[in-house]
């Protein structure tokens, strides 16, 4: 294990209890209390991640790929600190900024400017910090006069641009990107990739979860492949992507031992 790891996952296992009481409500819970207690005892928890160990060095851009349900988002959640590992350790250093889904953390009745403050502060910036960077954020978003209008009149591309613009100006140590670049036009995507390249040059660490293998291959310097909650490959982008594509082409052909 290298000493300069900015993110370190050590034998991390995460399981969820399925069929939780969340969906049945008080009524269902009270009416069927004995069954729930029984089911709760009997139930094998669902393993979202099993024994994953992973070091990310400062300045790395790590791509995480894998099928739906392979544990990509869980990994991201653990790094972001919103999930707690069931066993193992997650260690991170510095400010972490997750790039949010379209419009998350925005209020649609507020103007673009007001949302920049709302979103920026929720993501961990202080008010003064945002004021200092406000011009840059507005300029980068390319929203022009729309920035003074309520977000409800924005197109989805515009909402995405505003969100990305806030996130990249937080100057995080670690940026978490979960398949959000699918929105926005070509021009904006180009700008985002340029910004990510700039981050890479600045030494900001990035975790990039995506199904867009071309983008992953282009931006990331390391790629992790998850399958059914296990880390099956970690290394050079070309190699890992190739392995993944073989898996996709041959879904039943699991590697021995996985």
């Amino acid at each position: 294990m290298s000493e300069d790891a900015i993110i370190r996952l050590k034998n991390v296992t995460k399981h969820y209890r399925l069929g939780s009481i969340a969906t049945v409500g008080v009524k269902g819970f009270l009416l069927h209390l004995p069954q729930y207690i029984k089911a709760h005892r009997r139930q094998e928890p669902f393993r979202a991640l099993t024994d994953v160990s992973l070091d990310v060095r400062r300045g790395d851009c790590l791509g995480i790929i894998g099928r739906n349900g392979s544990g990509k988002s869980t990994t991201l959640g653990l790094i972001a600190g919103v999930l707690r590992p069931s066993s193992g350790e997650v260690e991170t250093h510095g400010r972490i900024c997750p790039l949010l889904e379209l419009g998350a953390g925005f209020h649609f009745e507020l103007t673009g400017i007001e949302n920049i403050f709302l979103n920026g502060i929720l993501l961990g910036m202080g008010r003064e910090e945002i004021e200092e960077r406000l011009d840059d954020i507005v300029a980068f978003s390319g929203l022009g006069d729309f920035i003074h209008r309520p977000v409800r009149v924005y197109s989805s591309g515009m909402v995405g641009r505003l969100g990305f613009s806030v996130a990249v100006h937080i100057q995080p140590d670690i940026l978490l990107i979960d398949e959000v670049l699918a929105v926005g036009d070509q021009e904006f995507q180009r700008k985002c990739f340029a910004k990510m390249a700039e981050f890479l040059a600045q030494g900001i660490t990035m975790i990039f979860v995506s199904h867009n293998l071309t983008a992953v291959g282009k931006i990331c310097n390391r790629v992790a492949l998850l399958e059914a909650g296990r880390l099956v490959e970690l290394g050079e982008p070309e190699h890992v992507i190739q392995v993944y594509q073989q898996h996709l082409a041959n879904p039943d052909g699991r590697e021995p031992g996985t």
Partner: protein, 268 residues
Amino acid sequence: MKTGKLSYYRDLTVVLLSKEFKTRYKSTFLGYAWSLLNPLMFAAVFFLIFSIIVRIKTDVPYPLFLITGLFPWQWFTNSVNASNLFFLGNSTLIKKVRFPREFLVFSGVLSDMIHFVISIPVIVLFMLYYHYFPAEGFAATDFPSLHWLWQVPLLVAVQFLITQGLALFVATVNLFFRDLERLTTLLTLLWFYLTPVIYPPELAAEKGYGWMLYANPMASLIVCWRSAFLEGTLRGDLLAVAAGFAVVIFLAGYQLYRSLEWRFAEIV
């Protein structure tokens, strides 16, 4: 580092609070008037039913009696009923971002508290309108009483603890049991009738339910609010009951939130 954290909490509170206010008023023509109109409309309905039709006897003019209890009650019930969505309504944020989530509840309760505080002048207007002189030796100029300077903040603090504790409890539990929402509205309604807001506590005492003032913190608190507004006095025993409950409710709600908070992102 410590001051950095404090100033961050301040910024977070301010931005969430201003969101509450802006979104509540931005697209409404009447703006601030709405926040007064809402409790006043309730007051008008209760006045119609309980003063004109049912004729509940009170020492003070019924509208005055009513609003001195109803306004603080509305803060409580609005916050508790809204708390169902304080976490659930921000599920995408909770799933992705690590930030002190209790501030979502805090800012909601604070916003209702501010609405209550800015409605106090309406109570004064009613007192003036009814030429209400609380006791011998008091002149109209004695009200608002100087005692309010410590009584109002004190009662606000006690009610804040009760409301925040209960709101944290409801907001948290509602993530795990999604139909709690319906139950809360029902229970707060029931609680309303068990609290001497629309009727004087003496009426309950006559029927042998006087102990309710000591078992229901909102009952003792509402009686305190009323006597503070109308007489500039507080009953020490009732204040102690309310404050004692407040601390317990707040700590229990906060403790529940603390112990379940790490699972929020899993279940939203």
